[in-house]
Symmetry: C2
Subunit: 522 residues, 2 copies
């Protein structure tokens, strides 16, 4: 004890503040998960006439979520905590420090958004998605354009409000891929592009390219439903903590720490539509189910970014689902599920038939190689929209021109072109580049897994997916979002993020299948 006139006070105990801040974040997540459920229900269950009222419901809950996320008491707590941590001060763990930094960063972003804007965006997104469903069905660009114009305007307003220091497009991108900047993404895409273009050119010049005729078999919907559910279960998706339903566009939505919902769509003459839809969404679902349930709503228990999320879906969809070992395991099961189909095919033939490459109009049906060109197109167009370099009215022509330039074909209708994706209609701008970032991360992770698990092919060929899933759980899922995606991927794989592994992975699989070698001509 000091008897000085000006005693140095011991710092106040902020542990109750930390507990209260964490509890607040988790209570907010309860409401946010209700909003997520409203969205899931809208896409899967809502009767046709229910749309307008659903918009009111979402807007009401979104506004409550926004209030919770901008609660001044929470801001004060977090600011006190951040001050007590400055420069490494205080007896705080790394996790506690990262938690406070991330919660406070999120809160400041939200605080800069006026509640009016939040509610308008929520409403415009619902309106936009509903208009999009009809517009795509009837290839009616004119019916959709005003909704998109309004959304672009609102998203630009959001970007400027929430991150005044950033380029508006970067502000939106940062919401999906924390720390990513469009100049870096653009540079990465520029390094990736020539190798992909070279591979595409080489594949198109192949004299004996793979063909997917043997996949075009009649597969009854009910048998497909049982089969893809079995596959999802075998790779590790836990149906006591999740579901699988149908929707216009496949997605994965989380309505609680033990409530992860996948959707897919069905084509009775082409099994890969549902199967790869489910492998992809189950990849997302495995990530969600691998997050720490007790930390639901806290950075420790949340996904790192959309890019990292996409790395998980792509890893299961492409790097597992299109591999030979997978079909060594899966084909006998498919033959049992669909006795009238696939009876004469070998695993090698089926797997090779999944490596068809060629220009196609629809992104979600594109092959692994051209997929990234679809993304680069959208990335450039949406940047131009947000920057004001491109008017919404000019978007269809800009889309078709660029498409023709990249792919050598021109969409015949808006539904096959600019109207094909749900994203923009739901206000998801700055989201597309995360798909290719996900491809980049997934290839880099798979390269690391193959080093760490030399028996991986044997495991997969015998339906043992647990070792792979365990690796992902430990290195990726259990990490939450305490790190930005770049450092997270670097830690998980032991190497800085690079497009190299994706390039190698694509050439190593698609080159030999097309008889064109495993690397671009020198």
């Amino acid at each position: 004890m000091t008897t000085s006139d000006h005693p140095r006070r011991s710092p106040p105990d902020l542990r109750p503040d930390y507990a209260a801040a964490a509890a607040h974040a988790q209570r907010t997540a309860v409401l946010a998960s209700v909003e997520a459920l409203l969205g899931w229900d809208e896409q899967t269950m809502l009767p046709q006439g229910g749309g307008a009222y659903r918009a009111d419901q979402v807007a009401a809950v979104a506004s409550l979520v926004h209030s919770a996320r901008t609660d001044p008491a929470q801001r004060d707590r977090l600011e006190r905590l951040a001050a007590s941590m400055e420069g490494g001060k205080g007896d705080w763990s790394d996790e506690q420090r990262a938690t406070v930094v991330r919660l406070l960063r999120d809160l400041h972003k939200q605080l800069r958004l006026p509640p009016r804007l939040v509610e308008e965006i929520a409403r415009a997104c619902i309106d936009g998605q509903q208009a999009w469903v009809d517009a795509r069905r009837h290839s009616d660009w004119k019916g959709f354009a005003p909704k998109l114009a309004r959304l672009v305007e609102l998203k630009r307003e959001q970007a400027t409000a929430q991150s005044p220091d950033l380029d508006p497009y970067d502000a939106l991108l940062d919401d999906y891929e924390p720390g990513a900047r469009s100049s870096d993404v653009s540079a990465l895409f520029d390094r990736l592009r020539p190798g992909i273009v070279a591979l595409l050119r080489a594949c198109r010049g192949s004299t004996c390219p793979p063909r997917d005729d043997l996949l075009k078999q009649h597969v009854p919907r009910s048998a497909q439903e049982r089969f893809v559910r079995m596959v999802a279960e075998r790779i590790g998706f836990d149906f006591t903590r999740g579901r699988l339903d149908s929707s216009e566009h496949p997605f994965c939505s989380t309505a609680g720490p033990h409530d992860c919902r996948l959707t897919t769509r069905w084509d009775e003459s082409y099994l890969p539509t549902a199967l790869f839809g489910v492998l992809h969404e189950a990849g997302h679902g495995l990530y969600e189910q691998g997050l720490r349930p007790d930390a639901f709503g806290l950075p420790r228990g949340e996904a790192a970014s959309l890019g990292v999320h996409e790395s998980q879906s792509r890893l299961w969809e492409n790097l597992v689902g299109r591999s030979l070992p997978f079909w060594e395991w899966c084909l006998p099961l498919a033959r049992k599920a669909f006795p009238a189909a696939f009876s004469d095919a070998s695993p090698e033939a089926v797997q090779r038939s999944m490596l068809v490459v060629g220009p196609s109009l629809i992104r979600v049906e594109a092959d692994e190689v051209t997929y990234n060109l679809h993304i680069m197109l959208r990335f450039d167009l949406e940047r131009a929209l947000i920057r004001g370099d491109l008017a919404v009215a000019d978007l269809p022509t800009a889309w078709d021109d660029r498409f023709e330039q990249d792919f050598g074909i021109r969409p015949g209708t808006a539904a096959e072109g600019v109207l094909q994706d749900i994203h923009w209609s739901g206000g998801l701008i700055g989201y597309f580049p995360t798909y290719t970032l996900g491809n980049v991360y997934s290839a880099q992770m798979m390269a690391a897994v193959e080093t760490d698990l030399p028996e991986l092919s044997t495991h997969i060929a015998t339906g043992q997916f647990a070792p792979l899933l365990h690796w992902l759980r430990e290195r990726v899922h259990a990490q939450g979002r305490l790190l930005d995606p770049g450092p997270l991927v670097t830690n998980a794989t032991g190497r800085p993020v690079s497009e190299r592994w994706l390039m190698e992975s694509l050439w190593n699989r698609y080159g030999p299948a097309h008889g064109v070698g495993t690397s671009p001509p020198a």
Copy 2:
């Protein structure tokens, strides 16, 4: 203009207050409908592991709904409005007066409930329902008893808090059947009981009773799904504003003015399980779809009571669905839907096979005649529970003893006895008597319809349900809850509420089918 020193002020214009009060009620309904959707999803979609978190979600939204329903600004507005209307004062329409009276009555009830109690009840109901699902499956009374004991305690606390002037059971009953008092209900039941007991005795003495063997036919689930959906659609249920799903216990839930959701359950060896489930729930759904969508959340656009709601479901289930004209229309369609079943049956035989009467353990499978005895049993037991005359621990024995006395058989397991109904597990105490009130109202309405629409039988036999639905829409649905159920039924039918029509309806249909005449022996 007066120049007096004390000018008589003209009354303030309260029209903006009225508009604000109505808007507030409709905004509150948006949140309440989200709570309803959470409940629907829990019963139909929620993965097994999602239960605990769903309880958190429901509790959070219920607490927000409660805050909105007890908003002091709304209370002040409504009290100003009520004062301006006192004794017929002011330039207000009847609808405006009734709206203010009802909104204020609801608000005062809610205001007397502490938020803590509201949240505890919401949570205990979710816990209770989840425990009940397991308990019923395993006939495990002990696992469920503590949940029920807690619920009874909380409901008693609720009753005393919200209506201190009423007997606690009447306070709960009033929530479901506004204005009803258990002494009146008890007297009505006492008048009804002897005629039912006499009919049951007469039917059991029949030498040639109807048999339902011909209904026990294999009917594949997928064909049933198509069939019952078609029936619901034909009687007028609008699937662009609703859905049909499966659940443990059939129900009808409204998640918005254009979003009414029915459920049923399926038995592949007994079509009536799903068919009457759907006719019943679609009866509720037709009522919900007949309410004024623009007045969703206002007394003008809300159902009058559970009894009136039940009158609609029973009317379609029993008075339409078990009638000969209905089967003249429906049987050819059933033959087409299920080619392997019903091929030799006549409409008369099928309809008569639906008039089997006899003691049975399960309420939801009971015939129309004994059904009311099931209700009287529950009414007496739940009154005793709330009054404290019966302990939860003694409930199974009390149930079984009373059951044996009324029906002459004793349940073998708790699942066949005290655990069979979902209601108490979800805090629905005071709810059961509304089923028999619904039967009473439905018979009285059908008697009035038959007078007003002499061609009704012909309409039904040719699948024309619109005239009947139109009568119900005008006289009942479009009335909302501006009147208490008694006056509403009296207005709709031109006669005071009486058990007479139900008694006559049962004797007129079941008596001849059993060859025992159409009235009790003198």
